[in-house]
């Protein structure tokens, strides 16, 4: 399994990573090696085998659908960690704009 720089670029776009041309080449090669290696799993017969998504055996863990109120202090700390803000509001770039991708 070999990835072309073009395919790599597509993956990087989906993953929201900006890569330089030399990086694209390097990652395409490295990822191809890893994908080759993991293809060893094809030799395992998994017909009729159930998938394992988790190992605890727990199912449907519920709690009451109730908001847990945090103190003003904690709220202020969370606001303080916003990368950009206007007062108490988180500032982000427009989701819909002509400049978008």
């Amino acid at each position: 399994m070999s990835l072309t720089p073009k395919q790599l670029e597509q993956i990087a776009t989906l993953a929201r990573l900006e890569l330089s041309e030399p990086e694209k080449k390097m990652y395409a090669e490295q990822l191809s090696v890893v994908l080759d290696y993991i293809s060893i799993l094809n030799e395992v017969d998994t017909d009729g085998v159930e998938e394992t998504c988790q190992v605890t055996g727990l199912e449907d863990v519920f709690r009451e659908d109730k908001a847990i109120e945090n103190s003003e202090e904690i709220k202020q700390k969370l606001i303080n960690s916003f990368p950009e803000k206007m007062g108490k509001l988180l500032k982000v770039k427009a989701v819909f704009s002509d400049e978008a991708e």
Partner: protein, 475 residues
């Protein structure tokens, strides 16, 4: 003996008898950090002032007869675990300014005892690595040989505990990240069963395999800390409600057990001969131990060679999804950008190292339309077969004993440009994660050149107690 060289048990007893104060104990650790951290690079943050304040409070607790197991004991924490009001970067640039408003549940439990948080440890960024060379803060050096790696991803914590910069540490283990560095630095590292300890506040990598556990100087210390960390947590729905045994009472107990030695863990191509011999010698010692009834049998785990490929599909897949939240929107370092896409792409590219990008991309690919069945679903099926392989063996034996790492600490740079060679460093430790089993690494001896070699004990799910008991007999 310097105070910073004490174990938890010794420090606890000394504090109780008033032989020294927590402030003195904390100062001894801080002194060692000052002396050695420049060389070892084991800490990203050191909380000198705060630690002394916490130690003073602990001394008051002790004076008021309110001492608990960890009161006044200085400890360090891997930087990928959230600690309240203190920088928690995960060794990344993107979280270079991140200060959580809360402690991870396991850290809260330890701090409620009055333990003293002395600093945050360097690690492979977001836990992605087996050598600590993938840290954006530079590699951690091995205290036994500064030209060699400390292991990873919890390498800073392992080096700090091995070098007596703290009395104990807390690491995180998704594919060996507690046990492998513990092995390479000659300390004890316990990865509990998945579901035993709360993951709340532990930065997620692979949600179905991540665990958090103690890194200590002795098995008894690991048992003391694990007893405090373990248990159900409302904030982590994957924690189980089973009662936590009194792990700290494991000392001087008689064992009547059958221990399996899986041949696949000793026949690996390229394995270090000395490592194999040291572990085999320990197994001989267990066999001959007079007071115990321990039977050793050879067993086979035929699926072993598939654990790493399964791991390197499931981990990057869940990882790429978990890393989606590291987007510089609500927290983290945001790069200048002209639109929303560029905020994500530029911030992530500048703030994450190569290995994180590799894993995000492998995961994105493995989960993408048309490839999901061939990669992720296939790996989940093989995961089932690996679990069955262990179940089969555990119907015959109580515990398994193996080497922790196929080789002792390797040279910095030796495997840095070969991701696959690095992945194979975890070949003996990742199967326990794939199957959700508890496992410990304990020091087994040293090579002729003085490098530590670790051995691993793997148990059945929720059987930490048995794992700790055997470990305690060996060292």
């Amino acid at each position: 003996m310097n105070l910073n060289e004490l174990t938890i048990k010794q420090a606890h007893d000394g504090l109780k008898k008033g032989e020294f104060s927590s402030v003195e104990l904390t100062e001894a650790c801080l002194k060692q950090i000052k002396k050695r951290n420049k060389e070892l690079n084991a800490f990203i943050s050191v909380f000198e002032k705060e630690a002394i304040l916490e130690a003073k409070k602990a001394d008051e607790m002790i004076a008021n007869k309110k001492q608990q197991a960890l009161t006044g004991i200085p400890f360090c924490v891997k930087d990928a675990i959230c600690t309240k009001d203190t920088l928690s970067t995960a060794a990344s640039k993107i979280l270079g300014n991140y200060v959580p408003a809360y402690d991870a549940t396991v850290i809260r439990k330890i701090r409620e005892q009055g333990a003293v948080l002395i600093g945050k440890n360097n690690c492979d960024t977001f836990g992605h690595g087996a050598s600590n060379e993938n840290s954006m803060f530079g590699p951690v050096k091995n205290p036994y040989d500064l030209e060699r790696v400390a292991g990873g991803s919890s390498g800073g914590t392992a080096a700090a505990v091995a070098d007596n910069m703290a009395i104990f540490g807390i690491g995180e283990d998704t594919g060996g990240s507690i046990r492998q560095p513990a092995s390479l630095c000659g300390i004890v590292g316990l990865r509990p069963s998945y579901g035993r300890n709360s993951r709340y506040g532990v930065m997620p990598m692979c949600s179905s395999m991540d665990t958090v556990g103690p890194m200590t100087k002795t098995v008894e210390d690991a048992a003391i800390v694990e007893e405090i960390m373990a248990g159900h947590d409302e904030l982590d729905a994957t924690t189980v409600k089973e009662t936590v045994p009194k792990y700290s009472k494991i000392k001087n107990q008689k064992l009547k057990i059958k221990v399996g030695v899986p041949r696949e863990y000793f026949e690996l191509e390229g394995m270090d001969k000395e490592t194999k011999e040291i572990v085999e010698k320990q197994i001989e010692k267990i066999k001959r131990s007079k007071d115990q009834k321990i039977e050793i049998v050879e067993v086979s785990l035929t699926m072993t060679k598939y654990a790493i490929p399964v791991y390197y599909i499931i981990v990057p897949s869940e990882d790429s999804s978990n890393m989606g939240r590291i987007d510089s929107i609500r927290y983290g370092v945001r790069e200048e950008a002209k639109n929303l896409y560029d905020v994500y792409a530029k911030s992530r590219s500048a703030g994450l190292p190569a290995e994180v990008k590799r894993r995000i991309m492998i995961g994105t690919y493995a989960l993408s339309a048309g490839y999901y069945d061939a990669y992720y679903r296939k790996a989940q099926k093989v995961r089932t077969l690996i679990i069955k392989d262990f179940e089969q063996v555990f119907s015959e034996v109580d515990l398994l004993v193996t080497p922790t790492s196929p080789f002792p600490a390797f040279k910095i740079g030796e495997k840095a440009n070969d991701p696959l060679a690095m992945y194979l460093a975890d070949i003996f430790v990742s199967p326990a994660n794939v199957a959700g089993l508890p496992a410990i690494s304990i020091p087994a001896g040293k090579t002729k050149t003085g490098l530590p070699v670790g051995m691993q004990i793997i148990g059945q799910r929720m059987m930490e107690e048995k794992v700790l008991k055997l470990a305690n007999i060996i060292i």
